[in-house]
Structure formats: C-alpha cells, structure tokens
Symmetry: C2
Subunit: 347 residues, 2 copies
C-alpha cells in the first residue's frame, strides 16, 4: 500500500561508497544553507548522514555553525498506520501552509527503510504537489542500522532545515514501532491519524501511542464514511477524556478530516495554532524543548557509553553467555551485570 | 491519608550503620530460607539491602544458591493513587488467598520512602490481619536513593521469597511515578485500582499506566457508591476497548470490588487464574519472564556503565557545563555527547 515500505534498492545501493566520493566544502554548505539553497541543504543532509569519520567531524562543524539559526520552527509529528492516508493528508496540509506563507520541510522516520533510501522516489511520487513546490522540501527517512542512528540524523536534519529558513517541520512516522517515541521526543506537537471505524486497522498502532497524541485526526471523513468517522471521533473523545490530563494543560482534541477532499484542514491548523499559543503562554513550550534536548543528550550518551562497554573484548565474549543464563533463570540478571561491570572496569 | 507517606524517622535512623554491625552467616540464612523461616528470610533481605561491599558479595552468593528455587510463584502488581484503598484490598485478597492454601508475600515499591524505612509500622498497622498471620510475609519498600536501586532490591527480595516457598507475591506501588514501570517489569499480571467516579482522584495516575493494566478494579464499590462504580466500570471498559490489544491475547478486564466489604474479591481471583491460564497456554507467560530477565540485565548494565562513565574525572567536570549549553540550545546534544565520549575513551 505504502510505496515507502517496498524500497527500490536499485536507486542507491551503495550509499556509503557514494558518500565517501562526494567532496564536502563546509563554507559552501554553510553559505547555501543561509540562503535557503535546496541543493546545498540536500548535500549537507547527505554529509550528516555519512558514517565516515571525516564526514562526521565536518558535520559537527557545520551543525555548530547552524545552532544560532535553529529552534524557530514549529515541529509537528504525524503518525498513523500504513493506509491511513498520511501522505495525502500531509500534501493537503502542507499546500495550505504554503498558501499561508509558511516554508515547509517534510521528513520521515522509518528505521525499516535501512540503507537503500529507496523511499525517495516513493515519497516524492506520493506528494506530487509538494515535491514540485519551491517552498517545500521533502526528505525521506535517513539510512541507518539502528533507530538511535536514524533518530539522531533526523533530529540533526531538523536543525539544518531550521537554519535554512523552514518555518514548519512535519515529521512523518509509520505508527507501528518504537519510532513514535523518537518522533514524540523531537516535536512540539504530536498528531495521530486514525481511520473511521477503528477495528482491525487499529491493531497496527502500538500501545502507548494514543497517550502521546495531542491531536487525534479521524481521516477519510468523506462521502459515505462521514457518519462512521463522526462516531469514531465521539468514541475517542470519550475514551481520551478518561486519560489523565497532560502536564502542559492541553486537552487532547479529536477531529474528523479528509486529506483527499481537503476537509477540516483549516480547522486542524487552527488547533495547531491554539496548541502552540497555549504551550507558549504557560512556558511549557520551551520547557519541553529543553527537556527534549536533555533527553537526546542522555539517550546519545547512554547508547555510546553502552557501545564502548560492549566493544570491550572480555565483555564481548562473556555477555552473550551470561545473557543466555539470565534468560534461562540460571543466574540473576544483577549478578550477571555485576560480573560484566567488574571485567569492564579492570581494563 | 496513607501512613506510608509520612515515614516515622525515629524507627530506624541509621540503617546502614546497623546493617554493618549485623553478622550475616550465609549457611544459616540459606538453611532458614529453605525451611521458610521468617526470621532468616527477613535477615537475608536486610543483607541484600545493605550497601556494604562485603554484604553485596554475600548477597550474590546467597542469591545464586536460591536461583534454582525461584520462579514458581505468581507475581501480582497492584497500583493506584493514595486513598484508593490498596492496603484494604490487599488485606482482603491476601486473606482469601491464605484460606485457599496459598502462602503470600506482600512487598512495596515506594522510592520516596528513602532511607528511613519508616513505613514498617505504617504498613503493618494497615494490614492487621495479614501482619499476624503465619502464612503471610509483609515487607515494606527497601531503602535506596534511586529507583534503580530500590527496584533491584525488590526484585531480589522476590527471589528470596520464592525460595522461601511463597506462592503468591503481591507488589504494591503508589501509582504516582516511574515505579509502575519497574513493577510492571517484574510481575506476571498488573492490576490498577481506581475510585468510583474518576475525576480529580484520577489526576494522580501517571499517563501510560492505564495501558499497562491487565485488570482494572473500581474499588469502594459498596453502599451508596455501587451505581457510580458500575458507571465508572462501563466507561473504562468502553475506553479500554479502543486501545490496541495486548500481544499476549488477553482482553483487559474491568471489575468493581470492595476491599472493605470483601465484595468481588473471589471474582478477581478467578480473573487472575483465567489470565495465568491463558498466558501459560500460549507460552507468553514464560516469554514475558525471559524478556523481563533480559530487561533487568540491560537496565542494570546501562545504569552501572553510565555510573562508571559519570565517575570519570574529566567527564564529571565537563558534563554539567555541556548539559547546560545543550538545554540553552547553544550546542547540539549529539556534539556534547560525542565530546564527552571522546574524553571517556582516552582514559
């Protein structure tokens, strides 16, 4: 259904090899980004996506230059299972934003897309109107073999896009995995798309995602599905009412929309603005951003410290054996952990 | 309202000093545990709670001896905000289990109780019937300055209790913090107690806890609250129906009970048994336990590796400064993380 889920590996089978051959000039990239030059922005994103050590150092330098220009966009997360109509909705919403004078970037997080980056063609085809528009920038999920890596690259891409003057960043995710937590931790407002009627389609949504949503959209509320969509909206509004309130004081909104027919898109934007106004008014907007920055520092540290640990020769040989014993209830997880830590500290 | 929340610091102000003076004989403890001797079991728990290095080594030895005798209980988590009636419910349920021939241990996780362990008196007073019964063992939350430490000690206490022949372990938590995630990761079935009517009382429940529950109990369904409790039950049953299904195939049950009047306690036990039968039938019971063991290994490793990292002199002096810059959006969280990791690796 989603072309994104069937990446065409013929497009770019040797991304890293290609990246290494590209010459990156930091000054040109930086000059281009400041001017909002899409070619230089794309090249800069390719640089930060590179796993080459020399490129990583250049990325750091570029990102540090960009820092003062970041933080001025509204970052919107959009999730929902394949088939719920995310791309059509984003195309309708994005087009409306552009008409209202916004410059929009659409990013995707989909760790399953892996190294092929095959989704370039898929995404661009699915968002024809936006793909051709000078005020829109569409970039598919970065390559990466771990969610942590993909998330980092996406968060850095947000920074580059903000430095290049994009005022709205839409981050799309597929709604079936851990990637929602990553997206939720990098956006200001998190939106969940549902289908009218619920039922089987819902089963693709991971537990816990419902509670992350700030705005719930029942999509495809058009033609003969309007009544069903309204009933679904009522059910979710009742259910969400029973959940504990958000600490920022926002009451989760449930709305019906149709991405295909452009119904409810303006009302959605009004809710986004109402949300931003409220969270900026009680300062939870900046508090959340500061918390998110701390979160990514800690996440990144934990991951890297753990990698350092797992690369330790003694740990690397002992860990799988001990883990097996732990899973079989032969030794306590804490004893195994203490044992491994002692080896690590002795190095 | 809850005596547990106002620890009486006069009871045991110098726990660690006391622990150091106690002489622990592993052979006596092990012999006592095998016989189900409550005095030796209590002493063994005091040993594992000690932060003294020598005691920690003895704890490891004792726990390894216990390992083959662990895993045979049913572990039940019970959460809910203060005032919902957890202790009264546990007293009613525990008494019924004892009549049915079970041997029960009641443990508490409450990281806020800290070092005073002042809750001993509070808990025992609140559960008069159980406290005096030879088939019941009540132990308050272990002392500890971090949730990780408290959780580890509680999980090790479960192992000691199982080795001592307790067939049901009830783990109570206060429903207002991160401790639910810890409890959820050490029990077979997780139960949430609510008050009739919801409203303000609900606001103490952290977001995300609802989705962890396997059984939701509307407590205090007695006298003039019966109708309101039944309405609350219906509302939650409808709301939970909209959440994605659990991977173990279990449909979350919502029931009305009265701990005070002993209403619905037998029906609750029937649901516990139905749950255990289902998850043992489709093997998700053992799969979950294996996952939990892995989870604790990884949690414990992450925590200990991170501590090793934070104790590194250069990291210790640089980390607070970089974190401050990250929160102020002056440097990227990833740049800060890379910088810290480079220092750490150089040692």
């Amino acid at each position: 259904m989603d072309q994104k889920n069937t990446p065409d590996r013929s497009i770019n089978p040797n991304l890293n090899k290609l990246q290494r051959k590209v010459h990156f000039d930091i000054d040109s990239l930086w000059a281009g980004i400041q001017k909002g030059d899409v070619v230089q922005l794309s090249k800069a994103i390719t640089l930060i996506e590179s796993t080459h050590a020399k490129h990583q150092e250049l990325s750091r330098q570029l990102l540090e230059r960009c820092m003062p220009l970041t933080g001025n966009s509204i970052r919107i997360g959009i999730t929902g299972t394949p088939g719920v109509g995310k791309s059509t909705f984003i195309e309708a919403y994005g087009s409306q934003l552009i008409e209202a004078g916004e410059k929009i970037a659409v990013l995707t997080i989909d760790p399953s897309s892996q190294i092929s980056k095959g989704s370039i063609l898929g995404d661009k085809t699915r968002m024809e109107k936006l793909a051709g528009h000078p005020m829109a920038f569409i970039r598919p999920s970065p390559a990466g073999d771990s969610l942590g890596g993909v998330a980092r690259k996406t968060r850095e891409t947000i920074m580059l896009c903000e430095a290049a003057g994009y005022s709205r960043i839409l981050i799309e995710t597929v709604g079936v995995g851990q990637s929602e937590i990553a997206v939720h931790s990098m956006v200001d407002v998190f939106c969940l798309l549902l289908l009218p009627g619920g039922g089987d389609e819902l089963q693709g949504i991971k537990r816990g995602i419902m509670e992350m949503a700030d705005i719930v959209l029942v999509n495809k509320a058009d033609e003969d599905r309007i009544k069903m969509a309204q009933a679904t909206k009522r059910d979710y509004a009742n259910a969400l009412h029973l959940l504990p309130p958000k600490s920022n004081g926002w009451t989760v909104q449930v709305m019906t929309v149709s991405g295909l027919q452009g119904i409810g898109i303006q009302a959605f934007e009004s809710q986004i603005q109402a949300y931003i106004e409220q969270v900026k008014g009680n300062d939870s907007f900046h508090k959340k951003r500061a918390e998110q920055a701390s979160y990514w520092l800690e996440e990144s540290l934990q991951q890297q410290v753990l990698n350092t640990f797992l690369e330790h020769p003694e740990v690397a040989s002992l860990y799988p054996k001990l883990k097996e014993q732990v899973v079989r209830n032969q030794i306590s997880p804490f004893t195994a952990s203490d044992e491994l830590i002692q080896r690590f500290k002795k190095k």
